[in-house]
């Protein structure tokens, strides 16, 4: 067993606004080995984006604030680093691909420049050298290298997402966090972009956190999967273990309506009836208990610990403790 590339320990993130405090992330623990690929699934509002932004220390502040926890990257706690040191990590060691390719590229600069900027910054080369690198990167995501001088508005949504992928990979980061990279795209384009990510992950030895609300997407690219609910990770394990042997009532609900796990279309999350609680008004105890078919008295009083039920397969539920 090698050391972890990334370890998140007991992370809490709140958004403090005039209307109240949204407890977006409530004590998550995650570990990722070098080269490993982890899927993070959960409904909208579960706190996936917030967790990802915390790793880069880019949670918008105000209103967001990392309340407590540790984020160890290569054994060093990122939350203890100076802003200057963080800047050397962002886009270099850890990069992020955002959800909406239509708005995530700066409309007034050429895509080549936007990729080159990243390279020039972290590898101490000229923008011109950076453009060369940008050319290679575009080719890698199957866009003709000659298009470095084009502006974002001259590309389609799928192509823009590929540009963002190229940008994220430009400095050979050790970790890429992709936040629902296909959600904003047309269904046909989604598969295409996913193929590209999959292909690249096999080529470069980068770790990946793939955020999605689509179990099918996660199954395509990840070895492990973590299920997130109301700011907590309720179940985490290898794809195989979780897909065949899901234990948490919420996860069971997710899979419950899927007759055939090979049918990609039907693997979108179809959770248990009811709504996820508002992050401003989380219930006492296990946050899932108001919707849980198996809820016991204890569930509304205490928060369950996470239990290892199989090799590296953890569940946070009183049914198993």
């Amino acid at each position: 067993m090698s050391a972890n590339l990334l370890e998140i320990k007991n992370l809490h993130v709140h958004y403090i606004t005039d209307d109240g405090t949204a407890k977006a992330v409530n004590g998550i623990d995650l570990a990722l080995k070098p080269g490993e690929s982890l899927g993070l699934v959960g409904e909208t509002g579960a706190g996936k984006t917030t967790s990802a932004l915390s790793v880069l220390r880019l949670v918008p502040n105000p209103p967001g604030k990392i309340i407590e926890g540790e984020i160890n990257f290569n054994g060093e706690n990122l939350l203890k680093k100076r802003e200057r040191e963080m800047r050397r990590i962002r886009g270099n060691k850890i990069s992020m691909i955002f959800q909406d390719p239509m708005t995530s590229l700066n409309p007034v600069f050429t895509v080549g420049r936007q990729i080159a900027e990243n390279v020039a910054l972290h590898q101490n080369v000229s923008i011109k050298k950076g453009i060369e690198r940008a050319r290679e990167m575009l080719e890698l995501v199957e866009i003709p290298g000659g298009r470095v001088y084009d502006y974002p508005h001259e590309f389609s949504g799928g192509m823009r997402q590929r540009v963002l992928i190229a940008m994220a990979l430009a400095c050979n980061p050790a970790l890429i966090i992709a936040d629902e990279p296909t959600t904003a795209l047309d269904v046909t384009i989604q598969a295409q972009v996913l193929e590209i990510i999959k292909g690249l992950m096999e080529k470069v030895k980068t770790s990946l956190i793939m955020i999605s609300h689509d179990l099918g997407v996660v199954r395509e690219v990840s070895e492990r999967v973590a299920v997130m609910y109301a700011g907590q990770i309720v179940e985490v394990g290898s794809i195989r273990s979780v897909f065949q042997n899901h234990k948490h009532p919420y996860t069971i609900g997710l899979f419950g309506s899927i007759p055939d796990i090979d049918d990609r279309e039907s693997t979108r999350l179809k959770p248990t009836p009811g709504l996820m609680p508002d992050a401003m008004e989380l219930p006492e105890g296990c946050p899932f208990h108001p919707r849980c078919p198996e809820a016991m008295k204890k569930c509304s009083e205490e928060t369950p610990e996470s239990v290892e039920i199989d090799e590296r397969h953890f569940v946070s539920c009183f049914l198993y403790s």
């Binding site: 800047r87 962002r90 990069s95 708005t103 007034v108």
Partner: protein
Amino acid sequence: MLKYIAKRLISMVPVLVGVTFIVFAIMHFTPGDPATLLLGEEAPPAEVERMRERMGLNDPFIVQYGNFLMGLFRLDLGISLTSGRPVYNEIMNRLPATIRLSAAAILVAIFIGVIAGIIASTRQYTVFDGGAMFIALLGVSMPNFWLGLMMILLFSVFWNNTFGYVLFPSSGFGTLRHLVMPAIVLGTAHAAFITRITRSSMLEVLRQDYIRTARSKGLNERVVIYIHALRNALMPVVTMAGLRFGVLLGGSVVTEQIFAIPGMGRLLVESVRSQNYTLVQGIILTYAIIFSLVNLAVDLLYAAIDPRIKVQYK
């Protein structure tokens, strides 16, 4: 691009012809006889009548206007009723000072306004923000001629009384030192407007996803703000600067008066006082042309700032 400029220049023509018509009509129906003004009150009536005939003042209004319009193509704006020299030459003598003053003032306004707006927007809800916005509000509410007098009082009169020399001269034109006070006086109100628009535009842009992308690349905050955000926030700022330029031209009349700058504005006031209609008419037309050209420049700047606009310029 050239084709677009040509198209825009041509589209300016109807508006400017409209301007000539309005200005000509106003001056035409103004009481007072140009021939008498030119020859002086004591001139014999017969001579005045001959002059009226020669100047075409006995023709119907439409004929006179037609002649005026035709004259414009030959840069013939008539003759000054006080000096007898061509209006065109009189204006050209005074134009450089006005352009220098206005350009300096709008640059001062943009420079101060953009910087103050950025500071306010990146430190929203702090004393910097509140302070900058309140000063901007004062700037908007202050008449520039008063600011001019106060600066003269401070930097010429009091400074001289205290230190024995003049920091900035209160009149004349020529050196950069002469330009400092007038440019600040004329630019201040517009700096205030530009501060306000820059702030709100920046606040809007800083919320955008691509700013988060820029930060996620590890760029430092200065690059994020001054390169990634500012360029996107600049459109409304440029629009505002263009709009304010019209008001600024108006303000330059008063500013020239206060600082004794030999520009078109002072010539305008002199001409109004001496009822020199032909000169008034020519000067107003010149101001309208400058303003229209500035608007054209603003349009072209859009394309330089935002590549998405260029597509529409074909």
